[in-house]
């Protein structure tokens, strides 16, 4: 049953990845990365159970922390950088 959940999450991760590649806007990509990060947290947490290693949860927690900080960082520095107009208007 863990397996079923893991497969669902993997599929969701793959779909998010596709969204990150095709864009079309920058924000779509950031959104996809954020979602991918959340999925990874879940993935690692379930994997910890599947393999009987609850210490994986530490990794998951770090992931959640870092994911948030990375997204904020991306947005912060994006404000400095002028957006590429072509990519945006689409």
């Amino acid at each position: 049953m863990f397996l079923a959940a893991i497969i669902a999450i993997l599929v969701a991760m793959a779909l998010a990845l596709v969204r990150a590649f095709i864009g079309p806007t920058l924000y779509d990509r950031i959104l996809a990365v954020n979602m991918f990060g959340t999925k990874t947290v879940l993935f690692i947490a379930i994997l910890g159970y599947l393999m009987g290693r609850p210490d994986f949860l530490d990794v998951a927690l770090v992931y959640a922390l870092i994911n948030f900080i990375a997204i904020i960082g991306v947005l912060r520095f994006f404000e400095y950088k002028k957006a590429d107009p072509e990519e945006e208007v689409k």
Binding site: T25, L31, K39, I46, K82, V89
Partner: protein
């Protein structure tokens, strides 16, 4: 009793997995960025919530594991809306406009003051 808890936890895991999957479908089916954001928040909130609660039921009395799962859940529930809000705001300032449906309020365009005020090239 343990059978009942197991069943509940399996159900939560499967429903959670399905919701995550739906959210992922959503970010492909929805037409533009702002609506995709809602799809993403589906997986962030209910999807991860159900999966993590499902895992919590499986801890088998290990308090540490339980506490860590709760911390992860709390953390996701606090950061996910914050991140999406920041993202939406940044997108608005970046010049992206949400698509509006039949209830568009023509009298007051609440969004017109957004945009690239602090940039010089605003040819839109």
């Amino acid at each position: 009793m343990s059978f009942f808890i197991d069943g509940l936890s399996w159900a939560l895991l499967i429903i959670g997995g399905f919701i995550c999957f739906s959210g992922a479908i959503g970010i492909h089916r929805f037409p533009e960025f702002f609506s995709r954001m809602h799809a993403a928040s589906v997986t962030d909130t209910l999807g991860s919530g159900l999966i993590l609660i499902g895992l919590m039921l499986q801890t088998g009395g290990e308090v540490i594991v339980l506490v860590k799962l709760i911390l992860i859940l709390l953390f996701i529930l606090i950061t996910s809306p914050t991140a999406s809000h920041a993202l939406a705001k940044a997108a608005l300032h970046g010049g992206l406009r949400p698509m509006q449906g039949s209830h568009k309020n023509d009298k007051e365009d609440v969004l017109n003051k957004f945009g690239r005020q602090n940039t010089s090239d605003d040819e839109q």
